[in-house]
Amino acid sequence: MTAEVNVTGSLRRRLALILTGGAAVLAVILFVVVRALTSQIAQQEQDNILSASLSSILDSAAIIDGQLQLDFPYASLSMLGTPADDRVFYAIYEDETFLSGYGDLPAPQQLRIDRPEFATHLFNADPVRIATGARTLIGTDGPRVISVSIAQTQDALALRLNGISRNVAILGIGFFVMASALALWAAATTSDQLMRLTTSVTRRGPQDLSPVAKPVPSEMVPLVGSLNTLMARLDQSLTQSEDFIAEAAHRIRTPLATVRAHAEATLQRVENPENRKALHAMIRAIDESSRAAGQLLDHAMVTFRAENLEQVDVDLNELLSELVQRMKPVAEMKDIALTLETEGPALILGDPILLQNALRNLIDNALKYAAAETAVEIRVKTEPTLTIQVLDDGPGFAADEVETLSGRFVRGKDTGNKIGSGLGLTIAQAATEAHGGHLSLINRPEGGACASLHF
């Protein structure tokens, strides 16, 4: 009785996906931010050097005899040396007039006297950082503005940035890998809690409806709480229905027993054939109804137990010898010899109550239909498969009925006035099928019936 479960993704996969996705985004952000920061710092460094170089050049500018003189201090260029042999360009203007250097070096939009202006441009297809500064010199003919641009290629800077980027990338990937591992572990332990609860519930036997006692994380308390409530309700309703069946059976059977005992006692005194006939009919009716009620309840019980099959080791030989002892008084009433013959050990995994019920029904039938002073034999065969045969010397089955007799409420035509419910073979068949076996009915060549359970 397992209903199809509607599945939407996996909690564990979803959790792992969110956590690793988050880790990936974080790693990328880390990479971008660290790279931007370091490139900013490196640029600042280059700017400082360019600025220092620029100011030392500007400092050397002077007007001597009305002539602008400008000497490039050695230090101003040497400080620009880099391990990547970056190239340096310059341009000097006086009042917007190009004086010397690279005239095509891009000039800044706006010239400022107080501090140098920085910009990055492409120059001769290479990115260059340009620092431009200006100075006002007072000459005899008035103030003159000297502006100087110093440009440097960025090979060393790019080299350093690449090195740093590589390290940051390694850091980012390392972070991602570790975070992912953590995410998977976290997802696994979280779903493990659920799995553990699931196993503790599924491992139970069908009769175990006790609440879950294992400790669970607080988030699962509501789930376990409702599970326990559900099981308590189920347990209660099962107990109630079992009690109800027992109580109902008691209430019905006790008065029936009273009436029957009275009828039997009266029959001992009454001589009038008509009254005797009525009493006989009454006793028969009581037997029919109580037998039908009993078999119906047994059938319901067998159906229930077959769906929740208990699995314990059952020794069929032991079970049969108990049954034989139990049935012997009934057999003796008709002077029938009831015997059990065993070929060898007959162990089976299953529900002893179901198996006992199936076998009892077969033996019951055999005793009922066998003639007085005959024999009913039970044989346990172990080869080729485990088979239990119940053989009698009765009339056997009608050939055209063998197929249908195990149906519900089906009774043979030649049952005479034997009392029966038509459920005995149904019960035996259902109980055997629950154990992966089947029931077969044949007539023995020497006469009599043979009902077998094959496992």
Partner: protein, 222 residues
């Protein structure tokens, strides 16, 4: 034999007790566990018939208690419950057997007999008439020191006759007493069993006399 019947339904108890007395046994009746304990303490019984649902408790607790006290009187449970597991549980608790209500008296009698035979102690009931001695529990007939084993139906028929010497039984009565209502027994079958008993009793001081149109009677020479 002395029986103790523990059953709270008065009508049913009366009917069962009447039938047991008819079989030639004596019966005490207890309607609840309290009374039953008093009976068991006051005297010894050969067999106890025990109902399960009683007004002052569960018959199973009485069963458990008796076994715990080493009272090993055979106990047959009369149950109205039909749970199979219940029946198994009862045997585990120390009951010797059980019958499900409503039951055929012939079956109850057969079960009682089987239990008594299984537990047969030294004090076996023997009915002796003249040179015929009959053990009802073992089903053995002894004539002049020679023992014959009787079949079940024969021994029940003989028991009837020997318990009521001189009483006339009609064929109908015998059918009612001997057979389950499920059996297809004609009155002619009685003639067969009476014939067999006569053969067994041949040469003894006891014989079964036919009273034409009335029935049979057990007579004893002298």
């Amino acid at each position: 034999m002395k029986y103790l019947l523990i059953e709270d339904n008065q009508e049913l108890a009366n009917a069962i007790a009447a039938r047991i007395r008819l079989d030639g046994h004596s019966v005490d009746h207890a309607a609840q566990i309290g009374d039953a304990i008093a009976f068991v303490e006051a005297s010894e019984y050969d067999l106890i018939l025990l109902d399960i649902m009683l007004p002052d408790g569960d018959g199973r607790s009485f069963l458990r208690e008796q076994r715990a006290r080493n009272n090993d009187t055979p106990i047959i449970v009369l149950t109205a419950r039909s749970q199979v597991s219940d029946r198994i549980g009862m045997l585990d608790l120390g009951a010797d057997d059980y019958v499900t209500k409503p039951f055929d008296h012939a079956e109850l009698e057969a079960r009682c007999r089987a239990v008594l035979r299984r537990r047969a102690g030294p004090a076996q009931t023997c009915i002796t008439i003249g040179d015929v001695s009959f053990s009802t529990v073992a089903g053995e007939l002894t004539i002049k020191g020679e023992t014959i084993n009787l079949r079940n139906r024969e021994l029940r028929l003989l028991e009837l006759f020997m318990n009521a010497r001189g009483h006339v039984f009609s064929k109908q009565k015998l059918v009612d007493r001997l057979f389950s209502y499920d059996d297809d027994i004609s009155e002619n079958a009685i003639e067969v069993y009476v014939g067999r008993l006569r053969k067994h009793l041949d040469g003894s001081s006891v014989q079964i006399t036919t009273l034409r149109g009335i029935g049979y009677r057990l007579d004893h020479d002298g």
